[in-house]
Symmetry: D2
Subunit: 316 residues, 4 copies
Amino acid sequence: MSTFRELGKSLSNWGRWGNADEIGTLNLVGPEQLRAAAQTVSSGEAVSLGLPLDAHGPQPGQHQGTERYNPIHLVTEKGYAPEYRGDICVADDHISMPLQAATQFDALAHISYDGQMYNGFSNRSVTWKGAEFCGIDKVSAGVAGRGVLLDVARHHGLETLPPDHVISSAELDAVVAQQGVSVEPGDILVIRTGWVERFKAGLSVGEFWAASPGLSLESATWLREHDVAAVCADNNSVEAMSSLPDGPVSPSDPEQAWVFHMVTIRDMGLTLGELFDLEELGAACARDGRYEFFFSAPNLRVAGGLGAPLNPLALR
Amino acid sequence: MSTFRELGKSLSNWGRWGNADEIGTLNLVGPEQLRAAAQTVSSGEAVSLGLPLDAHGPQPGQHQGTERYNPIHLVTEKGYAPEYRGDICVADDHISMPLQAATQFDALAHISYDGQMYNGFSNRSVTWKGAEFCGIDKVSAGVAGRGVLLDVARHHGLETLPPDHVISSAELDAVVAQQGVSVEPGDILVIRTGWVERFKAGLSVGEFWAASPGLSLESATWLREHDVAAVCADNNSVEAMSSLPDGPVSPSDPEQAWVFHMVTIRDMGLTLGELFDLEELGAACARDGRYEFFFSAPNLRVAGGLGAPLNPLALR
Amino acid sequence: MSTFRELGKSLSNWGRWGNADEIGTLNLVGPEQLRAAAQTVSSGEAVSLGLPLDAHGPQPGQHQGTERYNPIHLVTEKGYAPEYRGDICVADDHISMPLQAATQFDALAHISYDGQMYNGFSNRSVTWKGAEFCGIDKVSAGVAGRGVLLDVARHHGLETLPPDHVISSAELDAVVAQQGVSVEPGDILVIRTGWVERFKAGLSVGEFWAASPGLSLESATWLREHDVAAVCADNNSVEAMSSLPDGPVSPSDPEQAWVFHMVTIRDMGLTLGELFDLEELGAACARDGRYEFFFSAPNLRVAGGLGAPLNPLALR
Amino acid sequence: MSTFRELGKSLSNWGRWGNADEIGTLNLVGPEQLRAAAQTVSSGEAVSLGLPLDAHGPQPGQHQGTERYNPIHLVTEKGYAPEYRGDICVADDHISMPLQAATQFDALAHISYDGQMYNGFSNRSVTWKGAEFCGIDKVSAGVAGRGVLLDVARHHGLETLPPDHVISSAELDAVVAQQGVSVEPGDILVIRTGWVERFKAGLSVGEFWAASPGLSLESATWLREHDVAAVCADNNSVEAMSSLPDGPVSPSDPEQAWVFHMVTIRDMGLTLGELFDLEELGAACARDGRYEFFFSAPNLRVAGGLGAPLNPLALR
């Protein structure tokens, strides 16, 4: 297999939408795709694909040596506030959280190599002020279009793929065939591994991060060929991940972590959605055999954000 | 006019959807409404109705004597992280914010009087743990359905309604007639005053909060009669607001603040959306004369939240 | 034994330093006491009595159902910042923490009963703006004076008192006698139980909070008779604590939690210092038999704070 | 004048206290100095040199393009908490703040150039985990010793030095002579410019940061010759600062910002204390002509901190 650099170069979308482009493959969803996507709504269900924001999320936190912790929610005012006239009781609250803590989109500025981000922007443009280029705020209306669920776990008759399962292109083809769906340019691909469900069912945070099933580096080629607009999954990082004692590595390249991230985000300009919860959607699709839906996922508009939390919806 | 307590009692939805109900008028949007709403998408535009989250938002902050401040965004990691193998540069970030800081839904637990919240839940159930009942997490898939823009500012030929403008029921009827739309049960009403646009155009934070145009207390009856599912507006608080030196009052009842909030949220169980940005939507609707759209507004799923930020969309 | 209310009334210091007083027994440390305290410095050692602020502290955090979590420390800027001229690399950082997370003083506004705080101030004066009266900012130069260590654990020949050990007045007398010290009006009493050391040695956070050795309710009388200015201890709450499944109770009154807090803080106006680390001080005092020292403990001047973190020193 | 690099090399303390040393000139305060310092306490006054932590501090905040904002203080619990038994009302609170927001010590890891920090540690050792070397936690008992106030403003008969005033070595000698004090090895020098007082008196935040009086680069030689242990001042940055529209520069080297910081912190290993409030201390010293005192300044023990807030005391 070629190195991730060679693969990245061969799949690159740099310049495809102009040298100033900051949103990459999201350019593939235009008015026509959006209109067609809305037509897929038939049973009138709105299914949330987002994890709750609370202290019980999947982040190990600083005591486990990562800067990512679960959201901290503080009620900051409650009472018959003296500055209000009359008979009123108001309650306010506050949140502190890493933007990467729960269900989220990675901004294209989130990861880079050799000093460059997607479309050649310098990674020096990310400062304490946030991302000058390719920040999540450039995705101002979020990701909306036709979503397609590929339920890889169900395809294998499993509740959850095992942690060392690396999803190949051939496997994606097999799921597509079995489900009887097509994947079209501009689609938002939603990959179900069952891994987040397993965490919800009691897997420890440590085990959740030690390794997870996910896409292979090689599947990036498949994604490029199908020209999908975004890929979301119910695992840690969309891509398969495993860890050595001194940190994460990629099953696709044990000398290197996050190779899929680097090729898809930095070279292809592909938006990734992580830590999705696909339990309810998976069950609904299996029930009626409809795997396409209207995907509406407007992220918070964090100025210069390197990612943003959101509550993505499947409207079906 | 009756007192707000009398009005609240006459418009009450307590028990209408059972004694355990925690989402109020959102019960009015069912599968049929959602499916019909999706059919309104015709030009394939996705319009964000959310303010950016940054330091330049409308909150005065603690130095001005309010607990609400603008979001603080911190880049917390950037660099070739030593714990990652290989040639990778990752950037992460973090946000701290009041959940009421920018474009938001109020949870039904946000406001109460006489010790009770919507549907009779005790306001003692709001503790430092958040809202046990009627929290924003009960609105797990956000608000989705048929949105109708009532552009009150344009109706008057104004860019912005003056700060002392109190919108009456008769005025809502006039806008409906002029725009040629209907308002049906389960619709999400979006009221444009132009006030947030004026802030964006340079109005000071102090002036923004001193008074704002908005709905009258009396309009609550109109909302109840039309059985709308939610009301959102591009002002501070949906309702008209004015302030005396010692705090806010309601133009509808100068002895009392937030009377519309109390009747709509607490008695009717109506979800309010505040600090929306309707500049782009208003222009788009005026351009082609279509004032209905698919409203998709999935709030963050903050467990026990008294409100939640979001990036609402009009899909048209 | 009398109820805590009766005891509180009998030990009350309300009005003793005027009706406007907000610092209680800290009035007992005047210039004379401070000057004398400085004279106790003889070996020239500065011993920190503060816990480090990090993710490994004693707080269970929100996932364990308490609003108190360990400090979160974020590095927010590092790099050759573009807005600086020249060859400079600056690193900044940020902290979020409950003021009660680690070594701390309780403000007199921290606890109240029957609607009143120390000296009769209404507990309604604590709002989202903080404490209008009796906030920690009223202790602007912290607590400085003659410190006396009473090493109760060593007195019993133990490394750590058992979690159900409730320290009586008679026991304090015995330690005073054994150590050959006197306790004078205006002294700062430092009580060593060994409990924080046991946490540092590996006791789980759950066990740390389930119960802890500490002062009895009855010892409040002893503290009042000796007119100490403040009491600090290396346990959770100065007072002995035990827990039932549904929350903490006081060994001195199993119907009631925090009875010692209520009598000492609210009735006596006594400043309490919690979560001190007395490992090094205990060893130093045992080594040379000197149990008095210059206690210098300037808390952060948090405006309206209900407590404040600090790094207390024993200068000996 | 030599470049800052040449000056830094000539004043360097690298290796002076061993190659593993992480606290630099604080090594100059030993038991003898501490004991002697305690003897200077004569009138029994404790004077706080710290600014209050509130929303009215000197930080411009993110809306002015800096990552430093004033502390945010949130009351997070107040009420008769349901999980406590009995008649108790507890109030807790929370703070979020940049460690550089108010009165603070810079850690030696705070600034570097040419890839190296004090004593040759690599600046790559500062990661999102904080400072592995030379963090503020290495100063575990804070800075305690003999303090000497040099009241430069009063020396000139001014309330505040003008913003373009750059304090020279000759000037320090003149103040020493006029005040009749000596500066000895291991002393903590406290420089009064009046600049923070001017902010407290109403100077705008913008003017406060546009330029400030302070020490010259050349004075680093004087500090090295006198072998002081630390230098604190009532201005932004100890050193004189001025700004061009695109960022700060140093009056001592207009091509370069923070030259004094780089030479003192990085080359000399000198601890700097910033944003001190010397109003009360200046008045007290002027009143009785005693300019020496016991300086007790225990910073918060932030693990890996690049600085830490504190409430420094002058005990006199």
